[in-house]
Amino acid sequence: MNAPNASGWRPSMGGSAEAKFATSSGDYALMLEEALSLELGAPDKCGVDIDEPGRAPAAGLGKFLRKSAPALPGLTEPETVRHYTRLSRQNYAIDLGPFPLGSCTMKHNPRLNEKMARLPGFADVHPMQPQTTVQGALEVIEQLADWLITLTGMTSVAMSPKAGAHGELCGLLCIRAALDARGETRDVVLVPESAHGTNPATAAFAGFKVESIPATPAGRVDVAALKAKLGPNVAGVMITNPNTCGLFEPDMREIADAVHAAGGYVYCDGANFNAIVGKVRPGDLGVDAMHINLHKTFSTPHGGGGPGAGPVVLSEALAPFAPLPFVTRGTDGSIHLVEEENMGEGHAQAFGRMVAFHGQMGMFTRALTYILSHGADGLRTVAEDAVLNANYVLRSCEDLLPAPFADSGPCMHEALFSDAGLADGFSTLDIAKGLIDEGFHPMTVYFPLVVKGAMLVEPTETESKAGLDRFIASLRSLAERAKAGDESLHSAPHFAPRRRLDETLAARKPVLVWKGEPGVPGTPSLSEIGGS
């Protein structure tokens, strides 16, 4: 069952990775524990040499001065570098191996992108500098905007949203503004039940009521049910395409036509645009607004949870309502920002402002670098290889793990399995935690909600076939163990920096900050943090 590992070791050779004894330090060779910076540091330690101020604070500041320095422990540079380097080794990352989180799109992050974003002309520029001094930065925004508009076949793009969910909000506020301009008060947004949780949350945040649309047995939007809900109260629909089951919605155009005929707008959640970039233009399918997660399709790093960037492409119907600021090119060839100061010049319908300054410039630079590297031809191959890799996983595992929609045809960029058919008491969680021991990051689990024990595997185009074969071998081995009732899976992971963590304890008695004295070592005892 075990494949030989890359070192040549085989189980028959004996020995065991589990053979451990307690070391005096608590560390095990390259498995290193690390205390909190707050325990390691001291308030009078500093890793930065700072000049003496050379003068006393101004008299006017007297009554505002704090009485003592903040209780923040510091570390010197060598201690700081060691602390964070040791911590980094407790993380899994795309740089270490496949990270097949469905719908999250963990692809390789090209390092050229990082290098370009750090050019002083981009990294060391203030957002409120006179616009004559930032023409290159504005040109980056303009060029990226042009690519996004062309790749999606839309009319314009709002660049400022800070992340995908923020882009969703931007799109829905454009719809609200367009309805207001028409003098209509439609208050319902239709959302398929398979949608990501941000869709209903965003619709509610934008002041809409959410009504759910069921899925067909083939994992698509039930078009008849959707049409039955259309009416004068419906502001629009939010549809993810490709959808969260990893399937293209073939009836998108028919849905869009019906929604438009009923006076509504079509919001497309573009989280999965990476599957179709260069192959299909959403504008050709009748979409009015779609956010693009630059950190998914265009490889800006996820950074352990952000920052993202969520530009929203807009149809002609919604373009006039895009929020401030945006860039335009004047007749003299110079680029300028449309802000509150000059919005009157033809942009009076802008619905307002979503962020301070102009959006995620550092992400724009990275995304543009990625796009220029791939070009129109390379981006098309990105989508094709992503879809090829996902179908390869789907067809290599469907005999062992049920794939609920596999009979209806190929998947797009992600393969969906369910945990039906595992031994009694075994579920998706056991497979996911088992993958950790196998040296992989688990897939997305228990999402979408429409499939029991969902496992959503998105390999992306940056996995090699050899890498996929290793992943598939591990996934198959885990499915076999779970079918055979291998109890050791229940306590997996066994080899990670931590065993399963007590999430109930964390939520029941939240400890969100360290309350010890600065620089005083001492892990709180279990009773202090609510353990038994």
């Binding site: 570390l75 050229l112 802000e339 100061e341 129109a376 935690k433």
Partner: protein, 456 residues
Amino acid sequence: MRYLPLTPADRASMLETIGAASVDDLFVDVPAEARLAGPIEGLPAHASEMAVERHMSALAAKNLSAGSAPFFLGAGAYRHHVPASVDHLIQRGEFLTAYTPYQPEIAQGTLQVLFEFQTQVARLFGTDIANASMYDGSTACWEAILMAARVTRKGRAVLSGGLHPHYGEVVRTMAKFTKDDIVSLAPELTADPDDAAVIAAIDDKTSCVVVQYPDVMGRIPDLAAISEAAHATGALVIAVVTEPVALGLIEAPGALGADIVVGEGQSLGVGLQFGGPYLGLFGCREKFVRQMPGRLCGQTVDAEGKRGFVLTLSTREQHIRREKATSNICTNSGLCALAFSIHLTLLGGEGLARLAAVNHARAQQTFERLGQVPGVSILNNAYFNEATVILPRDAREVVRELADRQVLGGVSLGRLFPVADGLHNGLLVAATETTTDEDIEAFATALEAVLAGASA
């Protein structure tokens, strides 16, 4: 293509496994009329690393970077020296290329950093707790107003005229759709902030007052007095900190009675980056924890009793609560939070205090020198590292003329508050530890020349 590992032989063998004749067969669900036959026309093809670098470098070279000119801009984004180790550490692939820590057993690095970050933010702000970060200061400010409405069950927010106008615009934009009642006080060119007007605007329907500290013109409001008045009617005080380095020198808002403290963390570790990505900071009283937006990291133990960290209280969040969530936010600003946390760890409490003192000293030097320029006066009775300079004419023109002389001389109030009359002669000027004596002299000399009407 250097980023795509599949070879033609791999593709052929994989298609065979799948049972498809070609890759196009995998796109069979896309209606034929919507499928593009080849690469989109009119767009360039792929390019080498060298070619892309050349293109991007040419664009970068068209910008006047802050480090290559006397530079005095602030207004919510500040230029500080970021130690080299910060940028090195955030580029470690284990941090840079990890996802949100949904599998805590293999994400303790990110999670422990977030726990340390939450602790640092709470101690800096003087609040009980803090979250794992938000998009930026302006969106954190709006989320705080929503949270205050949930806590107080009232829906009238009073915004000080000293609030950054972009923050105010974000709030007013969102409130148009949520129907929250927003009272925006007018900004005025006075030597002290509008504490009295804020206090006078509080009534028994008020959910919160939003006060920037120091305010957008660099003045410092009396948070203790405002808190006392707000708490008397059951309103909450939201303090907004756009320059966290200030808190090395002036009292923490939480210690002065602020119930929620939000801010922009860009000053520490993150850099200017033409406005983003930045870092929303959010701290509050512990009793509000279940009304708080954004991700939270909490301490727990693993099955062997070892201390560990997990994302917690996610029953507030959109992936569980869907349309009933406290916020629709899914992403935070993790990598910027890491940079902030590393920079603050390098500084420590006393280092931050010294850095703040140097910033203030540089600002004193700057304003003493600018005050000697004929026709120029300084508005503020008190300031940290930024204050408002009153010029004899519209500061927007002066800023452009200074730029013609390669001096980046501040942010005009006219650009920030285009519709507010009476502010247009105001110029916001900030100094930090990066400001040199030569910068100050070059600025003052250029300003003298511009105001004297000399041609560049």
